[in-house]
Symmetry: C2
Subunit: 146 residues, 2 copies
């Protein structure tokens, strides 16, 4: 399972020209789910995301977690993160979990974050979305359980 | 070397409240450089980026490259991509190449893309930047030469 974290001062999701969810200061997470993933991957990532120190303290040191700064999280499904670009010029998505199964783990991830007291917004699973964001830093991390 | 590709319909970089560069339809690339990287990694990634088919054709199939659609590229340095978050809650940047050496490879990457006929804009190396983008899809790929 891959969580791509972008530290944002705002992010929003638009579907069909309509803004359906938005956050202020926090983390935009694109979530890519692999065929071999399970609840164990969900729990590992949710715990890591909530505690990772990627926000600046008063000395501009990356020292604070999203809990410390009272930030929000936006979770958007992103199967292309499971894409393999090694062979040729057309990405292969063989490793990606089929959407019907992936949606369950996507929802488990959101629920797990919420259970840790973080306000979480989300995109629309399997929809064509425009995701707007301002990456502050920029600060971007790739968390991969494989 | 890690290139994080986000397919965008626009992206811009702001430093100190001033927009210093912007692109329309194309790819925003965050570039993370590892201590072990060399020109070989630069060439592999530049070639892959220019030819990767991640843009939609008239049948909405991901079938066209950035060359095919006449898109632009924005390259922004992002050392946090080389960050290791496996141990504890504070990312380790031991794998990241020191900035003095990394800047050379960052510029080689930009030059290589330009030599392939792609219009390339860039951020400001080692500056605090606000990177705004609209990720269309969303479509996001991680290319890693390690």
């Amino acid at each position: 399972m891959i969580a791509l974290l972008q530290r944002v001062n705002k992010a929003s999701v638009e579907v069909g020209g309509e803004t359906i969810s938005e956050i202020g200061k926090g983390i935009l997470i694109f979530l890519g789910i692999d065929k071999k993933d399970s609840k164990k991957d969900v729990e590992y990532l949710a715990d890591k995301v909530v505690n990772l120190r990627i926000f600046e303290d008063n000395n501009s040191k990356m020292n604070l977690s999203i809990k410390d700064v009272g930030g929000e999280i936006m979770v958007v499904s992103e199967f292309t993160l499971a894409g393999d670009c090694k062979k040729g010029n057309r990405p292969s998505f063989d490793k990606a979990m089929p959407p019907e199964e992936a949606e369950k783990l996507y929802r488990d991830f959101i629920d797990s974050l919420r259970s840790k007291g973080i306000p979480v917004k989300e995109g629309v699973f399997r929809s064509f979305m425009h995701v707007s964001l301002i990456n502050e830093g920029p600060v971007t991390f790739i968390l991969n359980t494989r």
